[in-house]
């Protein structure tokens, strides 16, 4: 690791359908929240990093320009980082490297999206070129369905069991979201409701899928000196990891999913983690689809390959389980996509700072946060701890 860096505060908007505010005002809501929380002012900040999923989600290409005022970035160095679904974690990485470099003591990281202003599936269609892949992989659910199916086939997991485990994940996360004041979807669902919901792309059903949310998240990263000076309880960055795969969806194995496995390994190595299920106290896994969340458990070494549905059904990853995953309700209940990865980071930070409120995992000291982007092509990790 480089120079020690910590998160010293986070701010979130209330996520949901936010047609009550303009996009810049939504961004400012998160920024004001983090300043209120930390007692810092814009004058204290050395640099600002922001990002969205693809900028065209809301039809304004240069969002760091549009939001310069709202992020209180006028007169400051500013950076925009965008890596598709993993944007939020990449924003955190950019802020982390900036502070670790010694060139800044306080960096404000902001992620944002207003999905209700555009057409998310149509926008995502533009991530692939129009010669070849655009015709087949447009729309996120289809890609994840294929991946889930390959995973089921590889390990001969009975379809019934996977379906049950996915429903269990949906039910528990929807319950969790009630304890998260910022969550978008607050809705009680039953196993039967999930299993009988409308099919989106088989086997994925409506309640297996994240919503379109509007929201923003702001996180302040600080150097060790600044943490000491401010005297706040921080969440230390213990490890970061990121990996990409080939452009062509058919080129790489999406079951033994190297980008997820290696991104986690990079972060674990830095954090000195050997047995993640035992050592981690909580994980905020990027889970836009219930089925995919289980695959991440395996790629991150929370359990053995093919084993996750059993573990899920045993309750290993619930809030009272051995390794609580997404106690915030996760992406499944809240997905302002350019903010989503940074919300994972923020939630992990809140947990190790002991500030997660009603969804606090007791005595959480080490937390993993994660986001995924591209067409199953990128995975990013940030591990946070209460101790340096």
């Amino acid at each position: 690791m480089g120079r020690p860096v910590a998160i010293i505060g986070v701010g979130q908007t209330k996520h949901g359908r936010r047609m009550d505010v303009s996009y810049p005002d939504l961004v400012r809501e998160a920024v004001v929240a983090v300043f209120n929380e930390t007692g810092l002012t814009p004058n204290d900040i050395d640099g600002v990093v922001s990002g969205t999923m693809p900028s065209m989600m809301e039809g304004i290409a240069l969002t760091h320009f549009y939001f310069a005022d709202a992020m209180q970035a006028a007169g400051k160095p500013i950076m925009k980082t965008e890596t598709c679904g993993s944007t939020g974690v990449s924003i955190a990485h950019t802020a982390y490297y900036w502070v670790a470099s010694g060139m800044a003591d306080l960096v404000l990281a902001v992620g944002h999206e207003k999905m209700n202003e555009g057409n998310s599936q149509a926008t995502m269609t533009t991530v692939a070129e129009p010669f070849y892949q655009r015709y087949f992989i447009s729309g996120a659910p289809g890609v994840f369905s294929m991946q889930s199916q390959m995973w089921m086939d590889r390990y001969n997991i009975p379809e019934e069991k996977i379906r049950d485990a996915a429903a269990f994940i949906s039910v528990t996360h929807h319950d969790d979201a009630f304890d998260n004041p910022y969550a978008h979807i607050k809705m009680k669902v039953t196993m039967d409701e999930v299993k009988n919901a409308r099919i989106i792309t088989y086997p994925v059903r409506l309640l297996d899928v994240c919503p379109n949310s509007d929201g923003a998240c702001a996180v302040i990263f600080a150097s060790k000196d600044m943490v000491k000076k401010l005297g706040r309880k921080p969440a230390w960055v213990k490890g970061v990891g990121y990996r990409g795969e080939e452009y062509f969806f058919g080129d790489s194995d999406k079951v033994v999913w190297e980008s997820a496995i290696q991104a986690a390994k990079q972060a674990y190595d830095q954090a000195g983690i050997k047995d993640p299920r035992k050592e981690l106290d909580v994980a905020e896994v990027y889970n836009p689809f219930t089925f995919q969340e289980m695959l991440f458990y395996e790629c991150f070494g929370f359990c053995e390959p093919g084993e996750s549905p059993d573990m899920v059904l045993k309750g290993t990853f619930t809030r009272k389980g051995e390794l609580p995953c997404d106690p915030s309700g996760g992406t499944l209940c809240t997905n302002p996509i350019g903010a989503t990865g940074l919300i994972r980071v923020a939630e992990a930070a809140l947990q190790v700072m002991g500030k997660a409120g009603d969804h606090q995992v007791p005595k959480a000291k080490l937390a993993l946060s994660h986001a995924m982007g591209g067409v199953d092509q990128f995975n990013g990790i940030m591990i946070l701890g209460s101790k340096l």
Partner: protein, 154 residues
């Protein structure tokens, strides 16, 4: 390049949007419908910002003091544009202009007009930085920035 040019694919991207004004833009554009230009005043730096803002970009405080600003001002800079590109939102020829409305503290971006724009040499005789200008309103106002047709020389 002298290299062989290979095949190309012609395509188009179309994306639909519905963007939220929020409270401040809504009130500002309602103002335009009523032939009123609203600014907001920052209580910290004292600047009157136009168009109205929900907050001051320098002081970062909410600017909830609304002010009806003058429709007369000074032309700060202008740019005669007479070329066209795909999807251009304003029909050329037009004169993009920065106007300091009387009593305000920032430049308001809009158009100059009210005279024949087709011959640049004639335009150049009429338009001068520093001249006094005044808003001219459209009869068909929709709560849109183009409810002000343009500013004309006074």
């Amino acid at each position: 390049m002298e290299a062989k040019e290979y095949k190309t694919i012609k395509t188009e991207i179309r994306l639909p949007y519905e963007l939220a004004y929020g409270a401040t833009w809504t009130r500002f554009f309602e103002g335009l419908k009523n032939k009123t230009i609203f600014g907001t005043k920052c209580t910290k730096c004292g600047r009157i910002l136009v168009p109205a803002r929900s907050f001051c970009p320098r002081c970062f405080v909410d600017t909830d003091e609304w002010v009806e600003v003058s429709q007369v001002g000074t032309l700060i800079a202008w740019c005669y544009t007479n070329y066209k590109y795909f999807g251009m939102p304003t029909e050329p020829p037009f004169i993009g202009s920065l106007i300091r409305l009387n009593g305000t503290d920032v430049n308001f971006l809009h158009l100059m007009g009210g005279f024949d724009l087709n011959n640049f040499d004639e335009v150049k005789k009429i338009i001068k930085s520093g001249m006094k200008v005044e808003a001219v309103w459209s009869d068909d106002r929709k709560g849109h920035i183009m409810d002000i047709k343009y500013f004309r020389p006074l």
